[in-house]
């Protein structure tokens, strides 16, 4: 499925293969993410979605294949060059990965404060402006991650990812563990982050309602391969048994 417009390719994954010991997790994965596009990656637990994301950001090295971000080959790229590219990405991890020893505001502005040498006061104001967009209270800023709920931690992690308005956002299950209202808020935020900054996003999720709200394109990873791809509308009409199962079990209303 190619983007019909002549948008720039932001991320291009070609023939990506990854295995751990004897177990193959991803086999010959190919896709492109275009500028201004939001891609959702769906698949059963353990299908290799997070492994795909970790390969893209260079935390894992693929056995075979190529990963290009803004036309720069990431595989075997020097660490310093890789770090520069990663600075332009906003990433959330599946379990938040907030730094326990830092207060929430320090977590949110961690990258930007170091990069732009902000004072504590300016950095805190920046953090405040971001958490307001996420429906969080200013009181959480001075607390540590362990002092707030899991849902709040998730939002702080998203705040850290979008701080500094990165043009490429990578979310690993951003709405899991959140109540429907907050989940919907996150969906809106992801959508607006992509639209307003003209950015691109890859979101790994199991939430079909979320996929319909945020994605322009969906890929399904099953049995180590991309077994289906299309738009959210096509997804709702798809005969693919796994997609049908996902939709039915996560949000039956979508089928009505």
């Amino acid at each position: 499925m190619e983007n019909k417009s002549n948008n720039k390719i932001i991320i291009e994954v070609k023939n990506l293969t990854k295995s751990f010991n004897e177990t193959m997790v991803l086999n010959d994965i190919n896709f492109k993410l275009f500028e201004g596009e939001s891609l959702a990656v769906i698949g059963a637990s353990g299908s290799g979605k997070s492994v795909l994301l970790k390969n893209i950001i260079g935390l894992l090295s693929p056995d075979k294949g190529s990963i290009k971000i803004n036309n720069v080959e990431m595989v075997d790229l020097k660490r310093s060059a890789k770090e520069k590219i990663l600075l332009d990405l906003g990433i959330t991890f599946q379990h938040g990965a907030l730094f326990d020893s830092l207060q929430n505001w320090e977590n949110i502005v961690f990258k930007v404060k170091n990069k732009e040498k902000l004072t504590d006061k300016d950095a805190k104001e920046l953090a405040l402006s971001i958490i307001k967009r996420l429906g969080l209270n200013s009181e959480i800023l001075d607390l540590y991650p362990s002092e707030i709920s899991g849902g709040m931690q998730k939002r702080v992690a998203i705040a850290r990812a979008i701080c500094g308005n990165p043009k490429v956002l990578l979310f690993d299950e951003p709405t899991s563990g959140l109540d429907p209202v907050t989940g919907s808020l996150i969906d809106k935020l992801i959508k607006s982050a992509v639209k307003t900054v003209g950015g691109s996003a890859i979101t790994i999720t199991h939430d079909m309602a979320s996929v319909c709200k945020i994605a322009d394109k969906v890929i399904l990873i099953d049995k180590q391969k991309i077994s289906w791809s299309g738009t959210p509308k096509e997804m709702l009409k798809s005969d693919n048994a796994q997609i049908k199962g996902f939709i039915k079990s996560t949000n039956p209303k979508l089928f009505i």
């Binding site: 770090e83 990663l86 991890f93 990965a97 730094f99 990258k111």
Partner: protein, 263 residues
């Protein structure tokens, strides 16, 4: 045939373990070199170094002080009992001084710090590893080796020699208190003997040992923490391994250093 197969299996398992052991040593060596490299490369996170100094130095002082204080007291008492024919002020003072400055001060401080700080460092870094915080650091433009590991090593190299010097002083004070108040030695003679037998080489050797112990504790703890896997179990393993390996390395290296200085 079965017997031959069993022998092959046992040899295979031993070989596998041996190669894994060699591979771990290789990994540790690479980690060591990388960590040393990052110690000397800016930016230096002074705030983090400062917090580590407080944690390692200031907060370890009570436990180090207590350990060396009582060791000094025990040493004075045992020396007095053991050398009953020579139970004069100078013998006790000399044995307490030499034992504390050359061996007991550095080793006890090293073991105490390995238990208190080594375990903490390993657990902290291992938790960060298994909760993806270290991965996240790397994606936020910060090098984990520079941000997490280097401050701990720098602070250990600064604090442990200072702790040993303070521990030595407290240990000698413990011996002095026993000698004066329990054994009823003459304080002036005891003090004079202590100062007279105090040698620079002992202080230098103790400080060198302390610096090496600091390096051992911080490197081993950070290595096991940094390479932790398997969630909570991995954190537990990293913590235990860091304390055990650090302690064994401290006891081994103290012999090597002593042999080099006085062998």
């Amino acid at each position: 045939m079965n017997l031959i197969n069993s022998i092959f299996k046992i040899c295979g398992a031993i070989g596998q373990k041996f190669f894994k052991f060699l591979s771990n040593i290789g990994h540790f060596f690479i980690f060591f070199i990388t960590a040393i490299f990052w110690i000397f490369r800016p930016p230096w996170y002074f705030k983090k170094i400062f917090y580590q100094i407080i944690d390692i130095g200031y907060f370890s002082l009570p436990v180090v002080g207590l350990t060396t204080f009582f060791s000094g007291m025990v040493l004075a008492l045992q020396t007095y009992n053991g050398f009953s024919e020579l139970n004069n002020e100078t013998t006790v003072a000399r044995v307490v001084l030499t034992s504390i400055t050359r061996e007991l001060g550095p080793v006890l401080t090293g073991l105490m710090v390995a238990g208190r700080i080594g375990a903490k460092m390993a657990a902290e870094i291992a938790t960060m590893r298994v909760t993806e915080q270290i991965d996240a650091l790397g994606t936020l433009g910060t090098r984990p080796m520079q941000y997490l590991i280097a401050p701990k090593i720098i602070a250990s190299l600064i604090c442990i020699p200072v702790l040993v010097l303070l521990g030595n002083t407290i240990g000698i004070l413990g011996g002095y208190i026993i000698a004066i108040f329990k054994l009823e030695f003459n304080p002036n003679i005891y003090l004079y003997a202590t100062v007279e037998y105090l040698q620079w080489i002992d202080i230098i050797q103790g400080t060198v040992k302390a610096a090496i112990f600091g390096l051992i504790i911080s490197m081993v703890s950070c290595y096991f923490g940094f390479n932790a896997t398997k969630g909570a179990e991995g954190v537990g393993y990293a913590t235990t391994a860091s304390v055990v390996i650090s302690s064994v390395m401290i006891l081994t290296s103290t012999y090597i250093i002593t042999a080099l200085f006085f062998g």
